[in-house]
Symmetry: C2
Subunit: 512 residues, 2 copies
């Protein structure tokens, strides 16, 4: 066992890989070259279209022990990963690692294939039942959870070597030019798949909408694509929306949003050139709504919105409150529609969005991000991976990336969730280090990280309910009581990788 700088106990290695303990958010430097792959040649008389996934798996030369990837832009509507795994099984392949950009509850369909040994590990975070079962020790399947930027880094650095990337392509021509903007399974941005297309040993475009050459626009280009496979359907785009996309009506949420908007205003960042990211939850949208009103009132012209894009941000683009949306994934169908027609709504790769190991990601230019939490602690560390029951239920997404990049990173969360206090002595799992979190906002008050004494003072001057984080914690504990500590075994079932590749925490099997 080793301890990282946050005091988290880590195994020295996991699933055969040496663990690098997390030290701090910014100092770890890359010490390797960009990943590479063999150059290939496709002559004018060669075709790329194959009749089905099975032929593509064979053509790609997939073998036992190899690694595949898909992207999660169709989120809970994705049908491709399940279809690929069924074909892997049919071909008798075993011990396959999944390095997709994320796994969703729909992928519970993979569970029998994990049990059968077709799938032996996830080089990606998982949302839903697979993580829960792994946490309970009911599935033996190591998981390495990565941020969106960290995944791009892992692929670009060769840490994760994808043998075959299967890219769901809502619109694709016979030579592999593809976009997510059009077609019956349109999902908008293909941001997570860009890196796969550049670094996977073999790249297979899978489409339910084969269009004449050339596709009218392309997010991923023909030169990167080995094979094109037409299928009946990629899935159900109506299931892209997996959380609420309406502004919360809950008074607690509205109070938090109001505080958040006041903090942003107080920070001095809300001026021409303002850049902003929120998630898609009800509180996030309520903050966006407050900010939008302040921008309209002050005639403030923002520069960009980024991250997962909602229809709400599309409205702000169309109103001229943003000049650009940098879209790594569309969170709803309004965003999908916009990306195909609005030149200011620009698709970007996860590398460009959030990779710490390139010449500067978009998150580095971000003024303010609004983030959620399942728990925070008195050192401002944030957990979004496990719930307070200790179960691994959520992927990290861009949480740690944006927190590290933004000038002002704000956590918004109700002070009590499911009768449990949001502020803990220690979070169950550290997803994002407190060093990158500036403010935590609950309906009971606002805690400002020590490094921002000026902001704290200014908020106090404006009579906002600034509280010391421990004071806020005690106030919440006085209602909820002190939560009972969780009991875990020593078995590490997952690692939480920080964006730079160091390990910020380990997830252990719960005691049952």
């Amino acid at each position: 066992m080793v301890r990282n700088s946050l005091g988290r106990e880590l195994p020295e290695s996991f699933n055969g890989r040496q663990v690098v303990p997390y030290q701090d958010p910014y100092s770890l430097q890359p010490d390797c070259n960009q990943a590479t792959r063999p150059l290939r040649r496709i002559n004018p008389d060669q075709e790329k279209v194959l009749p089905n996934l099975r032929e593509a798996i064979i053509a790609a030369g997939l073998k036992d022990g190899m690694c595949i990837a898909t992207h999660h832009h169709l989120r809970n509507g994705d049908a491709l990963l399940g279809a690929v795994v069924r074909e892997l099984d049919a071909l008798g392949l075993r011990d396959i690692t999944i390095a997709s950009s994320s796994i969703h509850p729909v992928h519970a369909e993979l569970i029998p294939y994990i049990e059968k040994g077709v799938i032996s590990g996830f080089e990606c975070g998982v949302n839903g039942p697979i993580g829960e079962m792994v946490s309970r020790g009911e599935l033996n399947c190591p998981i390495i959870v990565r941020t969106h930027g960290g995944r791009a880094r892992a692929v670009m650095s060769g840490q994760v070597q994808i043998d075959a990337a299967f890219i769901a392509a809502p619109s694709c021509d016979s030579y592999g030019n593809m976009t997510g903007a059009f077609g019956p399974s349109a999902c908008g941005s293909l941001g997570y798949a860009h890196t796969d297309a550049r670094y996977a040993k073999k790249v297979i475009a899978v489409t339910d909408n084969l269009v004449p050459y050339p596709a009218r626009s392309f997010a991923i280009q023909q030169t990167l694509v080995d094979y094109v496979v037409p299928v009946e359907s990629l899935g159900d785009p109506s299931k892209i929306v997996s959380t609420t996309t309406r502004i919360t009506r809950d008074p607690v949420g509205l109070q938090i949003a109001k505080y958040a908007a006041q903090v942003i205003e107080t920070s001095g960042l809300l001026q021409d050139g303002f850049s902003f990211q929120t998630g898609s939850g009800g509180i996030s949208l309520a903050v966006a709504d407050q900010v939008r009103q302040k921008m309209q009132a002050g005639n403030i012209k923002g520069s960009f919105g980024c991250g997962g894009i909602t229809g709400y941000f599309v409205d702000m683009l169309e109103e001229g409150l943003f000049q650009t949306l940098f879209d790594v994934q569309c969170f709803d169908l309004k965003a999908v529609e916009s990306i195909g027609k609005n030149a200011g709504h620009q698709e970007i790769s996860a590398d460009m969005y959030a990779n710490p190991f390139n010449a500067g990601a978009v998150v580095n230019q971000l003024d303010c991000v609004i983030l959620g939490a399942t728990e925070v602690d008195v050192n401002f560390n944030v957990n979004v991976n496990t719930e307070s029951n200790g179960l691994l239920l959520h992927n990290t997404g861009g949480h740690s990336d944006t927190a590290a990049g933004a000038k002002l990173s704000i956590i918004t969360a109700p002070s009590i969730r499911g009768r449990l206090p949001i502020v803990r002595d220690e979070v169950t799992t550290v997803t994002t280090p407190g060093a990158t979190i500036d403010v935590i906002i609950t309906e009971r008050g606002i805690a400002v990280n020590e490094q921002h004494a000026d902001l704290k003072q200014e908020l106090q001057k404006r009579k906002l309910p600034v509280k010391d984080i421990r004071e806020l914690q005690q106030e919440i504990y006085s209602v909820t009581g002190k939560p009972r500590p969780l009991e875990f075994t020593d078995d590490v079932v997952a690692l939480i990788e920080y964006r730079d590749g160091s390990i910020i925490d380990a997830v252990r099997k719960i005691k049952t």
Copy 2:
């Protein structure tokens, strides 16, 4: 000495590099990995803007013997390469290789720096006086001429390692997002620079138009750019136009164009989905005009035009005769204007355009290309590099790439140029192998390569003046007389590299 399959005598090595003799257009397979470079990390607090080129050269760590690159989208209006070389000299650097995408007559300003030893070689073709002086033995400076696709291949394969790429960016933000579509030095596509941005060890964006972050669109993205340098001016975009952009009025040229259009029609390719490339010369545009009229008359909807794009092709896009323009460089200011506003006018990299060693370039999908020649020979080999005086005066451009890719590659040329016959026993220099040339058209007749017996028969049926190439040659010789053979020394001053990296010919110093 070795001979390649075309019988051309080559040195066994040149400038320290082993020569791979050309064998045939399609069989050489890549046997290496994609080039790589160290990963880097730029944290949120780091800036990229440097005060001037000198600081950028220092920051990039350029040393004696290293290699730099620029792109040639401003063509004869480029001011950047000269400015960089002056700074290299001022810093005392010597023995620098230039691996720009092309060199133009304006770069005669480099001659004193070649003489002084600042520049010791060109890993690219040269247009104008430098090649002439090298051919005469007046400059000692080895040159390797590459096709546009071959240059992308050379950079991607690591054959050419660029230590620092200086990219003229007509519009660029402080984090390096750049486009050529806007700004006082707008040149349109930055197609040749894309590969440099991905593979050069250091990437420096140089701009005379620094815009607020984020630039409203980007052809090359921030994650690839190390430094940004503002300068007074990148050059004079009015000099992008280096040849005529008007349809020829010369009756010889018009006759050739008419034949060419009839050959295309006869080939059966001129139907919905037709794709087409021509250059910017007067005969090329006359062919385009004929084809346009036939498309209009037949209500034919083409798929794409590609290559260097002229205003003429922009008109065809706007008329709906093409659905897409794949633009690797803009040949005139009308094309520059179009690329910034027409979504169907798409910028592509030289890699996507023409690289033989990727998963399929655009040229592989091309139906028909119209190309020029300084000479052709009875084996259909084409010379565009040297003139009939033996002087190296022209770069290859996309000539060999499109000839290899297109279903129908047509050479158009007047039968006599400067009193010299266009058809020779042997071309002075082989640029493009006859195996990839389908038809040669002069005003005196049409020669069809043997491999297209069907097309030949169909042309004869339509009463077009089809002639055996030797018959055509003799007819021209009867007017011009047999040209005197040129006299060369044994000194090889340049290599003509075929697109796959093999050497198709060598250029020798002329006897003076």
